[in-house]
Amino acid sequence: MAFRWKYLIPRLRRDQERQMQEELQALAEIAGRRELGNLTLAAEDARSEWGWPWLDGILADIRFAFRTLRRQPSFTAVAVVSLALGIGANAAIFSLMDALLWRDLPVRDPQSLVVFENSSRSYFGYTRFAEHAGPVMESVAADSGALARHLDTGNAFERGHIDLVSGSFFQTLGVNAELGRTITPEDDRRGSPALVAVLSHAYWQRAYGGQPVLGRTIRVEKIPFTIVGVAPPEFFGVTVGDSTDVWLPVTATDNVFPGPSWLNFKNNNFLSVIGRLRRGVSQRQAEDALTPVSIQTDIERNGPPPNEAERRELFESRLQLEPATKGLSFLRDRFSKPLRVVFWMVGIGLLLACVNVMSLEFARADERRKELTVRLAIGAGRWRIARQLLTESLLVALASGALGIAMRKPVAEALLRLIAYGDQGARLNLGLQSGVLLFVVGVSIAAALLAGVVPALRATRGDVLPGLQQGSRSATAAPVRRLLGRAIASTQMALSLVLVAGACLFAYSLHQLRQFDSGVTRAHLLVVDVNPADAGYAEDQLIPLNVRLRQRLAAVPGVESASFSQNGIYSGRNYGTQIQAEGSSESDPRHQSVYDHVGPYFFTTVGARLVAGRDFNERDDTGAPRVTIVTSEFARRYLPGRDPVGRNLYVATARNTTETYRIVGVVHDLRNNVRRPQPMFYLPQLQTLTQAFSTRFLVRTRLNPLAVMASLRAAVRSEDAALRVDQMDLAEDLFDRTLSTDRLIAALAWGFGVLAITLAAVGIYGLLSYDVTRRTAEIGIRMAVGARKSDVIRLVMREVALVCGVGLAAGCAAALGMSRLVAGMVFQMKPGDPLVEAAAAAVLAAVALGAAWIPARRAARMDPMDALRNE
């Protein structure tokens, strides 16, 4: 056995061969050749004793395939590159889907982790569950997810992501520190938290270069924390897509978020609560056991229900748990659908590449027909030759697979950046998993088989004699070959149509979205984010500061007007509360609504359209009657058929009281999500005096907004050198970010669409060139007996029409079938829109005709004498 392996070593093999030849030579001299019989055969048989004949055969195939492929560099390059693009894109998408949708958290026994769904997600709620979950859960943990904060390592000062976690977090997950220790319940003391930090492996490498860090100090918003540990490399937290740099005890929240205490406030939702079920306890049993705790917590937060209906509703409510096996993810919710669409697009792209390579293989087999027939004639088996051709395909596919793997990571990272546009921190573990590797190898082999089998089988069919007698140029066995050629070109057309129709659909949808009136005049509008709490301002100083900053910003040359708000425009951040509109005819007039605290002239500044009433101004302060402005959607939903202006709005406050505001205006909807208007109302911050977040200033400029950005920063600093502009964005950019998914899909669809069109054009061109060459004699005779050029062109074009007709019809059907996949993703149009399909079909038909024109003209210009002489 050992020798057989060694026999694969070329040097040993040559040595052995030389020895054998010498021996046989010597014997022949002693005995005479005739005496010994067929020495070549004897040597052949002896050789097969040494190695594995089948392996030798395969190695010979591979060597021969290498030589053949090297002799045809253009074919090899085209085939490898097109397959590599297809395989690489598929592997990238597969990696993303794997990381985002399929992979379990890298923690102990992820199957028994659950997340609390519809319960209070405040610190108060977490402590309640932690106290009472003992009988059904091993432990309960809270986690804020990644939050942006300034980190100061002593060498570098940068914005990073912290994650506030309960002391039970690492224990619950069963994650041990790579270095030092994790955060423990002893660190997590309410009132006097241990100021300790655990670094993520990536941050340790990035910020400290992997140097010893235990015991060193890292400042988070100027507060010193002692580094006690580093998390293992694969651990990113429980939110897939987050990239946490530093974990801190949740009880240190108020240390790093100055301003109103997050921990004391019972009604916020800044934590995710996760638990580990005890062995043998089902999710349902845990829900049953903890529902009373959930109800009790609700009463403690909001007070007892005011009426019977609400009481019944509360007591019938039920705590919901969800499996957290794969972690939590905002990315997953937003992108699982788009990713599936992209997965299909790249899948079709790969299929298209395979079909393209298949047609190349056909052309190559035609060229090699003579060689193959010679080999058949001298006794090679059909299977032997097919195996040789398949080896070549496999070699091409595996080379493409290797290239594809090399492309996978950069492509996946680029895609991730595209889909998480505006969220620079989004990071996924895109390491090469064995599943991904298997997928790529599998896809490569499938591609090789798909592209190689049919041509290989075809090439070895037919009689030996005609192949030898005729030149390769006019090789026959034509009807089947022609049918196959047509089938390939039609398939290319059909696949292309699906992609091009998708491209048209998504591009038009994106166009509609951009054109849609989102309620804000985006041109010349800037959003400037300043966080005064970071600069040490106390709660009661915040709103006077906002007023002063507004005046400074408005005074900057080139600025037309300025205002401020809590949440700005196109942001995911909001306030929500319970409201009731006066004069509502509904049986239950109470609703949950989203709102914002805004400054004077907010609507004028953002360029919103007031449908009725007036904008807020400087006089709407604590000395004046309380006023509010509602959106048209709000009026439509909660005050249908009534004039809202002049009515009262009753708004529940965080202090469990109700305040009354008079509606003084109705504004055309300011949509954060263009697809859906949201009922919203606005309160003057000068009256509510509430500020829980940073301030977002709105600045409308007369000049190019980019030109005044520096002056705006200077204006903020001139108020107080400690103040920083955290973020300054063009309204256009913020709006574009809300469309990031649509843009991604549209861009990808276009990329694949163009690729598809190119491949289809090449396919049609190849088919017709072959056809014209094959029919040279026929065309020559036709012209000799009086056919005109136009007749010849018609002859060729009939072929195109046939291929196009079949391909486009099949493509339309396929596109219709796929339309279900994109339902809900396109804006103001139906996925199966016949107009879109017609447009795509028209584009493709035009391209096909263009591609056919060159061979058609060549046929028409043919000299009949030349054509006939060729025979």
Partner: protein, 110 residues
């Protein structure tokens, strides 16, 4: 006369008991000792030799032949000797068993 499967290797080993021989020498020796009734083709003998060499039952070495020509000579290794002993007893058992079944030829008993 045709050979039974695997018998050739046994014959080669037996032939080498008397000393080292080159490939053609082995063929000749078998022919001689079988009184010409076993004519081994070199084409089948040679791969069998290589097989035996691979199994470690024979070893080869370049030497001078009786006619003063260089040739590769094969000799039995200790392992080959043991193998021959095993084959021998197996062969004897086989011949016995076959003889018992066949008895005397039916034509001759009359």
């Amino acid at each position: 006369m045709d050979l039974l499967q695997g018998t050739l290797e046994m014959l080669v080993l037996r032939t080498l008991v008397f000393g080292a021989l080159h490939g053609y020498g082995i063929a000749k020796a078998i022919r001689n000792s079988s009184k010409e009734s076993l004519d081994i083709e070199f084409g089948s003998l040679y791969p069998a030799l290589k097989r035996l060499e691979l199994k470690g039952w024979v070893a080869s070495q370049w030497e001078m032949s009786e006619s003063h020509r260089r040739a590769k000579f094969y000799r039995l290794t200790p392992a080959g000797r043991k193998q021959l002993a095993r084959e021998h007893s197996k062969w004897a058992d086989f011949v016995d068993a076959v003889a018992r079944v066949m008895g005397t030829a039916p034509g001759e008993s009359q």
